[in-house]
């Protein structure tokens, strides 16, 4: 991301102590979050986690019970939505069915008293940007899902807001189109350079598009980091479980050391002593029948194959370890790697590099 080019077209968002309660339930529980200027930040979480509530609070559509939302230096918490100057793409697109495509896009410009010729120019430019040139006179119900999505997008940025909010904008599209739009959206973000807050429950989408991901659950932020960090170094069991596939193996603690079976895994990280710890294993990090390997850099497991599943580009092996834990192993079916030929019932040895080991606390925070 080229930060220097976007300074004047984007605003940072600073959220402090944001709280919203529905009865006994916390939709937002003292959320603190800093979204950098020009950043693409994704709010990721299961349904009901509070991610949409947070987005709606930023847009001004719901009234939090307490807290602060700043756009740049300006406190916005009391500002009505129509004065917040943020663009938003709704999950339903919320295109006005009684207006044509061009009228929809011109709507925010009309409200800002942009004169007619400039309006036309900017609408056409926005249509160009979303690759809908020449469709301005169409009616909304004459458009396909993908086209509607683009109109909604054009309408959200045509008035040059410095913050863009998107609420699961791709969830109504089929898989292929969705994947293409992910790339286009990312591209557009680069072009516009606006601060973007994106809500999704699709972790792959979040990993693909974001500069940073804020994982949210039960109204609390679980981790805010770059995608690679979120994936490789989840800071708790929830994130580890929610992002990517994983098997979690509880660790035994002896003194300051953590063990799985007799194998030492690592030292106890510097956290309160009473917390339990678990080993997180990503299926694609496990190696089958590694042969001779360096014991210092590798951790070995023995088990019995339960099931072998062919899934196209990868194959999945379900293995029951000797201590009874079931782990899955994913391996490429490409010619470069040895194919998994193990039949159910056969004994296998699995291995994982110590550098791929993830250890997370599973004490109080375990769900």
């Amino acid at each position: 991301m080229n930060e220097s080019s976007i300074v004047d077209s984007a605003l940072p968002i600073s959220i402090r102590g944001l709280t919203k309660q529905y009865g006994q339930l916390y939709a937002l529980d003292t959320v603190d979050l800093d979204i950098k200027s020009g950043e693409f930040l994704t709010l990721l979480g299961p349904s009901g986690s509070g991610k949409t509530t947070l987005l709606m609070a930023i847009a001004g559509f719901n009234r939090p019970d307490a807290g602060s939302i700043r756009f740049g230096d300006k406190e916005m918490i009391l500002t009505p939505p129509h004065k917040r100057e943020v663009g938003m793409v709704f999950q339903s697109y919320a295109l006005f069915p009684h207006m044509s495509v061009a009228e929809n896009i011109a709507y925010p410009l009309k409200l800002r008293r942009v004169n007619k010729s400039e309006r036309r120019e900017r609408v056409n430019k926005a249509l160009d940007t979303v690759q809908l040139s020449g469709l301005g006179e169409r009616h909304i119900d004459q458009l396909s899902g993908g086209q509607r999505q683009r109109v909604a997008l054009a309408r959200a940025f045509v008035f040059e807001p410095r913050i863009l909010l998107m609420d699961e904008p791709l969830s109504a599209l089929d898989k292929k189109l969705r994947e293409r739009m992910q790339i286009e959206l990312k591209d557009l973000h680069r072009q516009l350079g606006v601060t973007t807050v994106y809500v999704t429950h699709d972790q792959r989408e979040a990993l693909t598009m974001s500069d940073r991901i804020a994982v949210i659950d039960n109204g609390q932020l679980m981790q805010v980091d770059a995608p690679q960090v979120i994936y490789n170094q989840p800071s708790n069991a929830f994130v580890a479980d929610f992002i990517g596939e994983s098997t979690m193996i509880p660790l035994k603690r002896t003194g300051n050391e953590l063990f799985v079976g007799d194998e030492r895994v690592s030292s106890v990280p510097d956290t309160p002593a009473e917390t339990d710890w678990s080993l997180v294993i990503r299926p694609e990090r496990l190696m089958v029948e590694p042969g001779t390997a360096d014991r210092d850099s590798t951790l070995f497991f023995n088990g019995t194959v339960k099931e072998s599943v062919f899934q196209g580009e990868t194959a999945l092996l379900l293995v029951v370890l000797d201590d009874g834990t079931e782990v899955s192993v994913r391996s490429s079916t490409g010619t470069a790697t040895p194919g998994i030929t193990a039949n159910p019932g056969s004994q296998v040895q699995l291995a994982i590099f110590r550098r791929d080991i993830i250890v997370v606390p599973t004490g109080n925070s375990q769900r």
């Binding site: 939505p81 129509h82 938003m88 709704f90 999950q91 919320a94 006005f96 709507y107 309408r155």
Partner: protein, 313 residues
């Protein structure tokens, strides 16, 4: 997929080679089957068509026929000539359309906020308030109309109360005139407007208003540019129902109009009761019917214009 089904597919592929690429087998039979099903579907509408013929076409045809029968018994235009001869007919038509128009207008002014309120209510309250709106439907028209008389007349509850409170000195004439008629009519007609309007409003996505305000529209602006146009089809439908029902109204203007608000229906009754003159009454009915159809036609044209503006929705 299990192994066995995979095998079956392979077998089919092999035996499939026996069939020619384009087959005429069963083509005729299939076409006939489709036709039969279409006829069956059509036959379902048959009872409705019969009912329409019996209840609408025949009586209306009879009405037309009668309207051209003079007092002497033969074909005559005298019933229509009379409508030109006496000014009362033009006046009652004017009154009828005036009352209908004003009632519709009042219903819109009262019904729109009411429907909006209902559409915003959380589910569990809608039932209760809807019941309140619909309650008049279950009360006899006559009872409701006379209830207004009790409220509005010279020594009625409203005048008594207002005079006791010192709001006004002497009784205000609230009934036995146009005012009373409109109050009573609007009360009876309100549900007919609110129901379709509520339905239309219920269909408006919450996100529409959010989107408008997000794009910079003040609540008022968002209402006029987005909510209002989207609720318009429901409002037009409701208004048409109210307007057309008003055109044929009899009881309420008769009771609350004090004999001053003479609608076409009143005049039809007067002619029937006093002259037993079916022809003259039929002619009035025919003119009212044609005028009503004309209104519907014009409204239809306007609606089509709307449809063009709104797309198919």
């Amino acid at each position: 997929m299990s192994k066995t089904s995979a095998e079956t597919v392979v077998e089919n592929n092999q035996t499939g080679n026996q069939f020619p690429a384009v087959s005429d087998d069963n083509r005729v039979a299939l076409a006939e089957q489709e036709k039969r099903e279409q006829w069956k579907l059509l036959s379902l509408t048959f009872p409705a068509l019969v009912v329409i013929a019996l209840v609408i076409l025949i009586p209306v045809g009879w009405l037309f026929y009668l309207s051209f029968i003079g007092k002497a018994g033969g074909f005559s235009l005298e019933n229509y000539q009379k409508m030109i001869e006496y000014k009362s007919y033009a006046r009652t038509f004017t009154t009828t359309f005036q009352v209908s128009f004003l009632t519709t207008l009042i219903c819109i002014l009262l019904g729109y906020p009411l429907a909006y309120f209902l559409a915003q209510l959380p589910g569990r309250w809608v039932g209760f308030f809807m019941l309140a709106v619909l309650l008049p439907f279950w009360t006899s028209l006559l009872v409701r109309t006379y209830a207004w008389l009790v409220l509005l007349q010279r020594k009625g509850i409203i005048n008594d109360f207002a005079i006791n409170m010192g709001l006004w000195e002497s009784p205000i004439k609230l009934v036995h005139n146009m005012t009373g008629t409109l109050i009573g009519m609007a009360h009876i007609m309100l549900p007919f407007l609110v129901l379709p309007l509520y339905n239309a409003m219920k269909k408006i996505d919450r996100d529409m208003m959010h989107a408008a305000s997000n794009l910079g529209a003040s609540p008022a602006r968002a209402f006029w540019t987005v909510y209002m146009p989207l609720s318009l089809p429901g409002m037009v439908a409701g208004s048409l129902i109210v307007f057309v029902l008003c055109l044929g109204f009899y009881v309420t203007p008769a009771v609350l109009g004090g004999g001053r608000v003479i609608m076409v229906s009143t005049q039809i009754t007067a002619i029937l009761e006093n002259q037993f003159n079916w022809g003259a009454a039929s002619a009035l009915g025919v003119v009212l019917l044609i005028a009503t159809l004309l209104v519907l036609f014009i409204a239809g044209r306007v609606l089509k214009l709307d449809a063009a503006l709104f797309g198919k929705s």
